[in-house]
Amino acid sequence: MVHISDGILAPWLLGSGWVITVAILAYALSKMKIDDVPKLSVITAAVFVASLIHIQFGPTSVHFILNGFAGVMLGVLAYPCIFIALTMQFFLFQHGGLTTIGINTVNIGVPALVSYLIFRTGTGLSIRTKVGNTKHRMVLFGAIGGGLAVMLSLAFVAVELITTGEQFLETAVLVVGTHIPIIAVEAIFTGVIVGFFATVAPDLIHKR
C-alpha cells in the first residue's frame, strides 16, 4: 500500500510528483557514470527482490521497503535505483501505478536521501561515547536512518491521501496503522546489515 495505485491522488499531486522526481533524477544522473550501472543495477535488483520477502508480524504480514538502506548504501544514487525499482514493480507485478511513479518515487526516494544525510552526519560526528567506535556508530545511525525513512514515507503518503480528499482519511489511517511494525523491522534490519557490512565488506557502504 505504500505504492499508491492509479486514479486515487489529485492530478496536481501527480504532476508535482513527476516534476520533483525528474529534477532529482536529472541531478543524480549527472553524478552517475556509465561504469556505475552494473553495480547500481545489482543493488536495485536486490532491493526489488528483498522487498518481496514477507515477514509474519502478529496478525499482518509486512514486507521490507528498504529505502533507508538504499540511501545509506548509495547516497544520491539511491534515487534512480528507487525510480527503476518502482517502475519495474508496476510493469512486472502491477503493484502501484503508472501515473503515480513520480509521486511514489518522491514518497520513497526523498526519505532515502534524508536517511543518507543522517547516516553521513551521524557517522562523521566525533563524539566520544562508550561505544564510540565506527562500527557501533554505523549500526546506530543506520538503524535510525532505516526507521526514519519508513516513518517519513508513511507521513508523505498519509498527507497526500488526506489532501486529496477527506474520503481518504480512513484509508490513510489504515495505511499508517498497518505499516507501523515495518518501522521497527526496517530499523533493526538496516542496523544489522550496516553492522554486517562494516565487518564483512566495509567498502560497500557509501562514503562520498
Binding site: 492509479d6 535488483a45 502491477q94
Partner: protein, 268 residues
C-alpha cells in the same frame, strides 16, 4: 516467484506488429488520459476500449485475469473504506461505544467504483503495451525514445539480475529451512533474514564486479547492441492516431459532459 510479462510476445497480432516506440508512447498517453478522468460512464467506455485492445493483441484473458486478481485485492478495500466513515458527516448506521460508523451516501460508492475501475483499466493496458514484444526489444525501444542512457542501461541490467537474485535467495531460504528455520514474530527471525539479505548483497555485488569486467573486456561501452531494427510503417501511425484520438476524445467528452448520465460523481 517472478513470472515474465512478455510470455506472449511470440504471438502475431496487429498490436505485436505495431512499432514498440509508438506503441509505448500512445498507450502511456491513453493511461494518463484515463487516470485523469472523473466521469464514471467515460471510464466504463475506456475500460471497454482497453478490453478491445487486449482482445486484438490475442493475449489470453486468463493470463491477465490472474494478474488483475492481485490488483483487485489491493484496491478492493476502497469499496469498504471509502463509503463508510468515523467522522459524523453522513448517515450514522452503527455505534461501537463512543465511535459511530456512518455511511457517506451513494456518491461515495460511485467514487470508489471509479477508483477501482481506473486502477484496473490502467493495469489491463500494460499488457498490450509491453506484453506484446520481448523485453529486450522494449528496452531498445526506450533507447529509441531518447530516455537517458543510464536509465535504459539500468532497466536492462536490473531486469536481468532480478531473476538471478530471486533464484539465489530461494536457495538461501531452502538452506535455512533445511536447518529448521521458521519465520516467526521475533527478533531472531528479523536478524536472520536481515543477515541472509546482507549476504545476498555481498554476493551479488561481487558478481556485478566480475560481470562488469567481463563485459568491459568484450567491448561494452554503455550502448545496447541488438540486431533488431525499428522501422515505422504507415499502419503504425494509423494505430497511434486511433489511440491518441480516443485519449483526447475522452477529455473532450468529459468537458462537454456528453455521457455524464451519472453526473460527475465523487467529491471533486
Amino acid at each position: 516467484m517472478i513470472s515474465e510479462i512478455d510470455r506472449y510476445a511470440g504471438l502475431s497480432s496487429p498490436i505485436h506488429r505495431w512499432d514498440p516506440r509508438l506503441r509505448i508512447i500512445s498507450i502511456i498517453a491513453l493511461i494518463f488520459s484515463i487516470v485523469l478522468l472523473y466521469d464514471l460512464s467515460l471510464i466504463v467506455i475506456s475500460t471497454i476500449f482497453a478490453i478491445i485492445l487486449v482482445y486484438i493483441s490475442k493475449i489470453p484473458f486468463s493470463f491477465i485475469l490472474k494478474r488483475l486478481k492481485l490488483v483487485f485485492l489491493f484496491v478492493l478495500p476502497f469499496f469498504i473504506i471509502i463509503p463508510f466513515t468515523f467522522t459524523y458527516t453522513g448517515v450514522v448506521i452503527a455505534h461501537f461505544g463512543e465511535i459511530a460508523v456512518s455511511y457517506r451516501g451513494d456518491e461515495s460508492v460511485l467514487f470508489a467504483a471509479m477508483i477501482v475501475l481506473k486502477a484496473l483499466t490502467a493495469v489491463m493496458l500494460i499488457f498490450p503495451m509491453i506484453g506484446t514484444s520481448r523485453i529486450d526489444i522494449t528496452i531498445k525501444a526506450l533507447e529509441g525514445l531518447h530516455l537517458p542512457n543510464q536509465l535504459v542501461q539500468m532497466f536492462a541490467f536490473t531486469y536481468r539480475y532480478i531473476f538471478v537474485l530471486s533464484d539465489e535467495f530461494t536457495r538461501t531460504e531452502r538452506s535455512l529451512a533445511s536447518r529448521g528455520f521458521k519465520r516467526r514474530t521475533d527478533m531472531y527471525t528479523i536478524v536472520t533474514i536481515s543477515k541472509s539479505i546482507a549476504m545476498l548483497f555481498v554476493k551479488s555485488y561481487e558478481r556485478a564486479d566480475r560481470v562488469f569486467y567481463a563485459m568491459r573486456s568484450k567491448g561494452y561501452s554503455g550502448k545496447i547492441a541488438t540486431l533488431h531494427e525499428f522501422n515505422t510503417r504507415r499502419q503504425d501511425w494509423i494505430n497511434t492516431v486511433v489511440v491518441l484520438v480516443f485519449a483526447i476524445f475522452l477529455h473532450v467528452a468529459a468537458a462537454l459532459e456528453i455521457f455524464s448520465t451519472f453526473g460527475r460523481s465523487g467529491g471533486f
